[in-house]
């Protein structure tokens, strides 16, 4: 069980995440939470409680980290987001304790809606960043001279033949 959990954590904290922008990290958190909760529901429904506990425990840890990432000074809706995280955390804890899928399904639905909002925002920001980067980029250097075409090669061969 612990090996599996370690692998999951290691997969989450790999280079892909450590080099990603903060908004990409957040989107990956939502993706990972969704996967944990979906697999947690399946594990409960199939009576694989140990696996369910690993997955839902990881989801709770991740939710705690995500709540810690919310900057309450910088965003007026931060308090509302924290309330939702808090409610979802309690749903997951209750579902995990009572081996009940219903609150986990509800938690997944709520996080899915928020995650979709962040995914859309991240895509829009990525697109506008690319557009700004292109607009700010210095003019491209002049292209290298074109390689000789077949006709030039024929002419070069002729001149070499003439020298020989």
């Amino acid at each position: 069980m612990y090996d599996q959990l370690r692998r999951q954590r290691s997969a989450f904290s790999n280079d892909d995440v450590s080099t990603a922008s903060p908004r990409r990290v957040l989107v990956k958190c939502f993706d990972r939470l969704d996967a944990d909760l979906a697999r947690g529901v399946t594990a409960i429904e199939e009576d694989h409680f140990e696996e369910a506990n690993s997955l839902l425990g990881h989801a709770q840890d991740l939710l705690g980290e995500m709540a810690g990432m919310v900057d309450t000074e910088a965003w007026q809706h931060a308090g509302s987001l924290l309330s939702v995280y808090d409610y979802v955390l309690r749903l997951v804890a209750a579902g995990s304790m009572l081996k009940e899928a219903t609150p986990i399904i509800e938690a997944r639905r709520l996080l899915g809606e928020i995650g979709d909002g962040f995914r859309t925002a991240a895509q829009e920001l990525d697109a506008s960043s690319v557009a700004e980067a292109l607009a700010d980029a210095p003019e491209a250097p002049a292209p290298a001279p074109a390689a000789p075409v077949d006709g030039d090669l024929v002419a070069q061969r002729r001149s070499f033949s003439a020298l020989a």
Partner: protein, 96 residues
């Protein structure tokens, strides 16, 4: 304590005593008790924040017990699986 906290405290206490009973049976090397007799009351409110840690602890303990019981059962009768908890309609109120 709020009404929700009281209701959840009762659930947590009952589940804890259920796990205590099973653990005691395992320690005495007695017959293996069945998990899943515990039935929380219907329409539970959302778990209060103050009880999240207690819920997580019980969840871990429950899963450790399932593991121990499965190992014990496989020694007694390798063909037996750990029984699933009794299931019925959802016991949760979900916030609209």
């Amino acid at each position: 304590m709020t009404s929700a906290e009281n209701r959840w405290q009762a659930v947590i206490d009952e589940l804890r005593s259920d796990l205590d009973r099973i653990e005691a049976g395992l320690a005495d090397d007695g017959p293996i008790a069945e998990l899943g007799r515990f039935r929380p009351p219907a329409d539970l409110p959302p778990l209060p924040r103050s009880m999240v840690e207690a819920a997580r602890d019980l969840s871990r303990r429950h899963d450790a017990l399932i593991q121990v019981m499965a190992e014990r059962r496989s020694k007694i009768d390798p063909s037996r699986r750990t029984p699933a908890p009794a299931r019925g309609p959802s016991r949760f109120e979900v916030r609209a």
